[in-house]
């Protein structure tokens, strides 16, 4: 049984995952690749919106390229893939992972694909945060002896 939130989490992870990482990990996972298309991979633009300070009024940040596809496994599970960029094979792999996460193989997929992806992403985030932290400057003002 999967909940909406769990699916949301892995969809988010897959959407942000680098194409090479997913290709390598999905390649190492031995699964039947057969599927039928509900929506063949197609590239398009989406408007990314933001809120200043996460609470302000929404504004359009800019457009980004997204590739999406939907497919169905022989068992009837439907997988959707939405990824950054125009790599159609990447979108297909993301949709396959989503579909296989709804089958009995979910645990194996999580172990071989999702968990390593999560770790890689956490690692990247940490490295970037550490790099940024190293450039931090503490400003302070000495009390001037005028009083």
């Amino acid at each position: 049984m999967t909940t909406q939130d769990e699916r949301k989490a892995w969809m988010s992870l897959l959407a942000k995952s680098p194409a090479e990482d997913l290709e390598r990990l999905w390649g190492s996972f031995d699964a039947a690749q057969e599927h039928s298309w509900l929506r063949a991979p197609e590239a398009g633009g989406v408007m990314v919106r933001g809120r200043a300070g996460a609470t302000g009024a929404p504004f359009n940040l800019g457009e980004m390229t997204v590739t999406r596809c939907s497919l169905k496994l022989p068992g009837g599970e439907v997988g959707h893939g939405y990824v950054q960029g125009r790599n159609k094979a990447h979108a297909t792999r993301a949709a396959l992972v989503d579909a296989h996460m709804q089958t009995a193989q979910a645990a194996a997929v999580r172990r071989t694909v999702l968990t390593p992806l999560e770790e890689a992403m956490a690692g990247t985030k940490k490295t970037r945060a550490a790099k940024a932290a190293a450039t931090k400057v503490d400003f302070f003002t000495l009390v001037r002896g005028e009083d």
Binding site: S36, L38, R39, A40, E42, S70, K72, G76, V78, Q102
Partner: protein, 198 residues
């Protein structure tokens, strides 16, 4: 299982090759509208029961997230709603704000519930997709723009179509679908019952 709606087979039957299929279907829809009484083939999409292939193809071609669709009677099924949401992202709305309405003639009545446009914006009207049991070039006589002399088509209700034509330039436009064939009846077409004509 979450998202049951997305896990069922109701999503199948969309265009195989969206750019080509929708361009061909649009051409067929345009030809049908331009020549009332002319029947065009249209079978690129397979919507869930009970909608016909022609009706499904029309909606996939013409509808998007800005066009409200009204599903009348038996056509308002969860499968159909899911299918339209997945393939077109079109909102399902009531009859009074519909850009497109789909159903059998009986289910779509009364016609007075649909917007017919305003004198400033006659395009703000509903296009009705009427599912027919049969579609043939035989029946009431049609005249008007796009018809050389006269054309014939079996209409569900000639009187209602006459009343619709009388509102011109306001009024409703109709696509008549049966299986994988489609014909059209724009508001500009004058309908005369065969008895008067012959």
């Amino acid at each position: 299982m979450q998202g049951d709606a997305l896990s069922k087979t109701s999503l199948e039957g969309g265009f195989q090759d969206a750019p080509v299929d929708s361009a061909r279907a649009f051409r067929a829809a345009m030809s049908a509208m331009a020549r009332p009484g002319w029947i065009e083939p249209m079978d690129a999409a397979t919507p869930p029961h009970p909608a016909s292939k022609a009706a499904g193809t029309l909606l996939l071609t013409l509808a998007d997230h800005e066009t409200g669709i009204y599903l009348a009677g038996d056509h308002d099924t969860p499968m159909m709603r899911d299918w339209l949401a997945f393939h077109t992202s079109a909102p399902i709305v009531g009859a009074s704000e519909a850009h497109f309405a789909l159903g059998t003639w009986e289910a779509l009545l009364p016609l007075s519930q649909y917007p017919v446009g305003t004198p400033e914006y006659p395009d703000r009207s509903t296009t009705l997709i009427v599912e027919m049991d049969a579609l043939e070039c035989d029946g009431v006589v049609l005249k008007g723009p796009g018809i050389k002399d006269t054309a014939e088509l079996n209409l569900p209700d000639a009187k209602a179509m006459q009343a619709n034509n009388a509102q011109f330039p306001l009024g409703l436009d109709f696509f008549l679908t049966c299986g994988s064939r489609v014909a059209a009846l724009p508001r500009s077409t004058q309908v005369s019952t065969t008895a008067e004509e012959r």
